[in-house]
Symmetry: D3
Subunit: 291 residues, 6 copies
C-alpha cells in the first residue's frame, strides 16, 4: 500500500527506463528572454502534473502509449539570468541523448531553447533541415539589443544552416524587416496555414528533419495559454494533422514543443491540448515499432 520508493512524476505515464527507450523527453523550463509575459518556465512541470487527465490510447491512430518506449528525464535545472549558460546546459543534455542514439524531444520553455537542442542534433546530422510551425517569424537579427531571444531563434538557426533549409508554416506576425528578409530567399514562409506542407515533406524525403512547434501557431481560441497570442491561427485538428503528416513523411531526428504558458490559461485547456499533441506525436514517432 505504501510506496517505499521515491515519488516519481512523468509525462503521460512514460515509464520506460532510459536504456530501453527510443525517445527521450526533457524539459527546459526557461523563459528569461521573454520580454512581455513570462510563464513558459512552468510548462513542462504543469504538463506532467496534468498528465493524469489524459488517456494513453489514441482513437486517432489506434495506438497506445503504454506500448511506446519513451523516457522522461524530468526538467533541467537552468540558470536564470545567464542565457548563454542555460543554453549550454540544454545543448549538453541534447548531445547526451543524441550520442546514445535516442531521439531528443524537448519541452520548452520559450522558443529560444530550440537553438541549443538544434545545435546538438546538427552536430550529428549536418544536413538537417527545419520544419517550423509558429505564429511568428522569429527571424529578427536582434531583439531589445539581444541576439539570443525567442524572437531571433530561427534567424540564429539560419546562421547555422543557411538558405533554403528552413520551412515555416502558419506564420502571421513579424516585423516588416523579417518578412522582407525571408523573401530574399533565406527561409520559406507559408502565411496563415499549412498549405504546401505535403510538397515540402515530399521534397525533403530522406533528409534528416528537426521539427519545432511553437504552440502559438494555434488560434488563441484553442490555445490561450501563451505569451503572445495572435488571432487568426490554425485549429487543433489542422496542427495535429500537419504534425502527424510531417512525422510520417520525414526522418525526424529531433523535435520540440514550446511556448505553452500555463499560468495564462486557468482553464487548463492549453496544457491539455499540448499534452494531447504530445501523445499523438510520440505515438506517430513510435508507430513503426508498435503493434
Amino acid at each position: 500500500m505504501l510506496n517505499r520508493n521515491r515519488n516519481v512524476e512523468t509525462f503521460l505515464g512514460c515509464e520506460s527506463d532510459y536504456e530501453e527507450s527510443r525517445i527521450v523527453l526533457y524539459g527546459a523550463p526557461f523563459d528569461s528572454t521573454t520580454s512581455y509575459r513570462p510563464g513558459t518556465r512552468f510548462a513542462s512541470r504543469t504538463m506532467r502534473a496534468e498528465s493524469y487527465g489524459l488517456e494513453t490510447y489514441s482513437p486517432y491512430q489506434d495506438l497506445d502509449l503504454e506500448d511506446a518506449k519513451v523516457f522522461d528525464g524530468g526538467d533541467l535545472e537552468l540558470c536564470f539570468g545567464d542565457t548563454e549558460r542555460a543554453l549550454a546546459d540544454i545543448e549538453a543534455c541534447a548531445r547526451d541523448i543524441v550520442a546514445d542514439g535516442k531521439l531528443p524531444f524537448l519541452i520548452g520553455g520559450e522558443h529560444l531553447v530550440t537553438l541549443p537542442a538544434f545545435r546538438a542534433v546538427q552536430a550529428k546530422y549536418p544536413d538537417v533541415a527545419v520544419i517550423h510551425f509558429d505564429a511568428h517569424t522569429d527571424l529578427r537579427e536582434e531583439y531589445l539589443g539581444n541576439r539570443l531571444s525567442h524572437a531571433t531563434v530561427i534567424r540564429r538557426i539560419w546562421e547555422l544552416i543557411g538558405d533554403g533549409r528552413i520551412f515555416q508554416f502558419g506564420i502571421r506576425s513579424g516585423e516588416r524587416a523579417e518578412w522582407y528578409w525571408s523573401a530574399e530567399g533565406h527561409t520559406k514562409i507559408q502565411k496563415f496555414s499549412f498549405a504546401g506542407l505535403d510538397e515540402t515533406i515530399a521534397a525533403l524525403k530522406g533528409r534528416p528533419i528537426y521539427l519545432t512547434i511553437d504552440l502559438d501557431v494555434l488560434d488563441p481560441s484553442c490555445f490561450p495559454g501563451t505569451g503572445t497570442p495572435e488571432a487568426g491561427g490554425v485549429r487543433f485538428t489542422d496542427l495535429l494533422s500537419a504534425a502527424l503528416r510531417t512525422i510520417r513523411g520525414c526522418q525526424i531526428v529531433g523535435c520540440d514543443m514550446v511556448e505553452l504558458s500555463p499560468p495564462l490559461d486557468p482553464s487548463g485547456t492549453s496544457t491539455a491540448t499540448a499534452l494531447k499533441l504530445l501523445r499523438e506525436m510520440l505515438l506517430a514517432l513510435e508507430k513503426p515499432y508498435l503493434k
Copy 2:
C-alpha cells in the same frame, strides 16, 4: 417596491408553478467521483445566477421562453462522500417528476448523475434508448476501483438496457479497452462528430429516448469550463443543431446536461453557452405547445 416574498432564483426566469409545468428542471450539484478537477457541483447554481444575462427569446427558433411551461425545482441537497446515497436521492426526485407526467431535465453535476435519472425514466419506459453526446466513452468497467464513476456511467446504463440501445456521438477519448468493448457491438460510437445522427434519429422513431449531453463534447475553445477538456471537439452550432434535431425527431422522455465546471472558466463563457443550449432545448421541447 419592497419584495415581501422570499428571494427566489430560477434558471432563465422559468417561473411556472410546478403543477402547470410540462418540464421540470432540477439540479444535482454532485462531483464526488471526479478524480481530477472538481467544480461541476457549482454548475446549476452558477447557471441560475448568470441567467439574467440571457434573453428569453430565440432568434434560432423564433420562440420565447416566456411562453413555455417550465418549473425549476432548485438544487437537491446531496450527501458528499456517499455516492450511493446521493444517487438514490437523485433517482427519487426523478421518479417524482416522472410520476407526475412531467419531463425531468437534470442539470449536473458530473456525468454520474445521469445514472439515477436514467433509472427513474427507464422504470416508466422500459424500452428507452439513449442518445449520448460526449468527448469521452464513459464505458469503463471501473475507475480507480470504483464502479460508480463519471467514467463508468454509460457502462452502468448499458448493464440496464443491453446491446444496441446506446448511441454515442462526438467521442474522442477513452481507454483502449473501452473502444474495443464498444466495437464488440455493445454501443455505437461515432468518433469526433455527429455524422450519422439523422439516421439514428430516423431509426429510433417512436421509441422513447433519453438524451444525455456531456458538454465537453464541445471543443474546449467554445467550452473551456470543464474538468477534462479534449481538443478536437464540435462547435457550438454543431451541438445546437444536433440537440434540436434529436428533440424534434425523437420522443424525449428524459434529458440532462452535465459537466459544466464554472470555476474553470473565469470568463463565464462556458456558463453562458450552457444556458443558451438549455434555452434552445427547452424551447424545442415546448415547441409543440407554443404559438
Copy 3:
C-alpha cells in the same frame, strides 16, 4: 424529495416571514459611481450564495440565528447609469420597512447606497446621529464632478443633519480638504482606530443611531475584497467588538454594510468575513428578544 416550491435563497438561512420579522435585510447591488474597480454590485448575491458555509450559532455571543426573526427581501432591481433613480428606489424600499416598524439593514453595493437608506430613517427619526466605520472620510463636496458618489456620501448626509452628529472611526484616507473641513467641527474623525468609541456611545445614549459600516475599515489583510484597499486598518476582532458595543449601547434605527467586492477576492475570505460580521450584528440586534 422534490421541492415543489420555487427555489429560494437567503442570507444565512434567514427564513422568517416578513410579517413576523423584526429586521429586514435588503440588498442594493449598485456600484455605478465607483470610479475605479467596480464589483460591489455582486456583494449581496455572493453573500447569499456563500451563506451555507457559515454556522448559524455564535460562540462569541452564545446565540443562534435560528432563533432570530430576520427577513431577507432579496436584491432590489436597480437602474444602472441613472443614479438618482436608483437612489430613489432604495429610499422607497427603506421607507416601506421603516413604515412597518422594522429595522432596515442594507447590504451594499457601494457606499452611496447609504444615503437613501439614511434618508428613509431620518424621515422617521429626525434627530438620528450617525456612527460611521470606514477607511475613507467620504466627505468630498464632489467627485469627478459628481455630487452623488461613494466619495461624497457622508458629506451629503451631513447636509441633512448638520454639525456634530457624525462620528467617524478607523479613517485613514482622504483629500487634504476633507480632513481640514471635518476639523472645522463638522464631523468627528477618529484616525486609524476605534479609540473613543465607548465615550461616543455613552454620549449618544438614548439617541436614535444609524450605523454605517464600510468594510474597508478592515485592514486589507483581513479584507482584500474591496475596491480601494487601504493598508493600516483594523483587525476583524476590533471591528466585531466595535460593532457589538455600538449595537448594545445605542438605539440602532437603521444600519448597513457596504463595499464588499467579491470578484476582487477569489479566496472568498472577504465574503465569509462580511457574513460573519452580519451574523454577529443580527444576533446582537436580536439579543433582547432571544433567551
Copy 4:
C-alpha cells in the same frame, strides 16, 4: 539613458502629433449602464499597456503602422454615475476631432459611448448611415427603466436618423420585441453572419458611414473577454475581412470598437485580438496615404 520627458503611453506606438495626424484615437472608459458584469472601462487602458506585444507590420495588408499618422489622445476622464454628463463629455471630444477634419476613432467602454460619438459625426454629416457589427440588437426602447443604456444605443441612433439607415450584422440575441420592431423596416438585421455585407457596401457607395463594432460579434471562443458572451458568433478572420471590406468600400467618417472587458479574460487573448483588429483597421483607413 534616462528619459527626461514624462512617461507616455499610447496604443501600438501611435506617436504622431495631433496636428499631423489624420486619425485620432480616444478612449471612453465608461461602463455605468452595464447591468451585469462591468469591466469595459478598463479596455482602452489595458489595450495601451498590452500594445507592446504586437508588431506594427501587417502581413495581411503589407503595411506598417509606423508609416501611419495616428494620434492617441488618451482616455477621457468621465463622470461615473451621471450618464448624461459622461455622454456630453464624449460628444464634445468627438466634435473637436471632427471640427479639426480628423477621423474620430473611439475605443469603449460599453456600447452606449457610441451614441455621443455618433452625434458629433452626424452634426457634420447629416446623411450618415450606420454599419453595425454586434451579437445583440441593442434596439430596446428602454432597459431597466433607462433609455440611455448599452442595450438601447442603436434605438437611440435610429431616433436620430430614421428608417433604412442602420445595417446590422452578426446579430444573434435580443428580446422578441426588438426583432419584431426591426422587421417593421426600421433597421436591417443580418442574423449570425456578414452575409449581404458586400451588397450593403455597394448600396451605400459615396454615403458617409459610421462603423460601430461591438466586439462581442465575435464568437466567445475567440473573444471571451466581454460582458455578455453569446455562443455562435463569427470568427476573427470573418470579422477582420468584414471590417476591411467596409473600410475599403465606404467613406468612413467615424468609427468605434467597444465592449472589450479585459478582466474577464485573464489570458489576454481578447485584448490582443482587439489590438490586432485595431491595427488592421487603422492601416486600412490610412492605406490611401501609404505607399
Copy 5:
C-alpha cells in the same frame, strides 16, 4: 547533465531512503466529503511543487532539514466517491509506517483523512490522546446525513477513545449542539486561542499524542487558501509556537496537517505557509537526533 533516473519530486527536498528515515510523509489527496468548495486534494501535490521556494534552514531553531531523516512516500491513489474505501487505504498505509517504527506524518486532504491515520496509530498506542488545532469543532454526529465527514471527524475519534482525551484549541465555529455536547465533558475546547496549551502539555507528559492541525485555525489573513475561512483566527507565529511547544513537550506518535486548498489562494501564500510550518515541525521532531 542528463538525468537518467526518473523524475522525482519530494517535499522540501526530503530525500532520505525509506529505511533510514525516522519520519514518513505521505499525502492523502482526498476531499470527497467537502460539501462546499473542494480543492484540498491538490494540497500535497502543490506543496511538493512549491517546495523549491523554501530554504531548508530554520532561523527559528537553527536546524537544517538537510540533516533530518525524512522520507516522502508521495501521494496515495485514492478512490473518489467511495469514502470508506479511501479511508481504508489511508489506514493501511499508516499501519505500514507505524509497523516499521516510523512516525507517520500525513498531509491532507480534508480533515476526514485524520480518522484512518489516527486509527492506525491508536492500534499501537491504545492510550493515545489528541491535540487538535482548528477553527471548527468537527464534533457533529453527522453532516448532510453522513457520519464520515470533515465536520464529524473529531466526534468519530472521540468514539474511539472516549471522554477527556481530546484537547481542542483555536476553535471559533460550530453548531450550537456541538459546543454544548463538548461542554458535557466529552472534549476540552479552548475558544479562539492557544490559552492553556502549556498546561495541557504538562498534564499529558509521557502520554502518546496524536497532533492534528487543521490549518484553518490560522486567521484567513495569513491563510486564505482553505475551504471554510473563519475570521478571528490565530497568527502564524502563534501557531508555529504552539506546534513547536507541543512537539517539544509531548511524545508525538502521529501527526497531520490538513485543509490547505491551493486553488483558493492564487498568491501561493497559503501553500508557502503550510510548507514553512511543515519544515519547522519536521525539524522539531528531528531535533533530538540533530546536533
Copy 6:
C-alpha cells in the same frame, strides 16, 4: 476637452518637470534571475496604473504630494536574458540622476536591480552605508551557478563596501551558510523585526545611507503579491514607521522598493500597499522642503 498632448501616466500624479524635481522615480522592470515565480517586471507599470486609487494627502504626516517635487521618468527598457547589460543600463540611468544632484528612487523589479543603483550612488558617496529591510538575507555567494541574482545582491554590495556597513532588518529566511557568514561580522542581521533600528540610525548619523526595501519583509497577509512569501513578517504600520524613522534620521542618498509582483495578488492590495508606502516615503523625503 480633448487632450492634444500625448497620453502621460505617472506614479501618484508626480507631475513635476525633471529640472525642478528633487527626487527622480524610475522603474526597472526586470526579473530575469527570479528562479521561481516571475512577475516583478510588472510592478512599476501596475503601480502607475493603480495610482489613481490613492489620495495624495497623508493623514500620517499631514503633508500632500501635490506640494512635492518628484519626477517620474517612467520605466527603463531593459534587455531580458542578458543580465549584465540590463544592470549596466540601470546604473547609467542612476548615474545621470545622481550627477544632476537629484535623489534616485528606484522601483523594481527583482532585488538584483538594487546593485547597479547602489553602484551609481556609491560612486558619488564612497562611504555610503546600507539599511536593508527584507525577509531574506540575500547573501549567497551564488545562486543556481549565477553570481548576479536576487539571492546574492546584498553579498555583491558587501563586496563593494566591506564589513560593518550593511544593516539588515526583518530577516527570516536564508541558507544556513548565509546566516553563519553574516555572523562572522560581515553584516548585521536583526531577525524577524525592526528591533535596534533606532540605535542603528543614531550610530549612522551624518553618514550617507542607501535604503533598500524588499517589500517581502512584510507579512504575506499584508503583502501576498511577491514571489517568495515568508510567513512571520512585519505589519504594514511597522514597516511604515521604520521607513519614516530611517528617512528622518538619516541622510538618504538613494533608495529603492523592490519585489512587488502584481500578478500574484489579484485583489490589488499589494500594489496599493506599495503605493501607500511610496507616498509616505516621498513625503518624508520632501518634508524639509514642504510647508
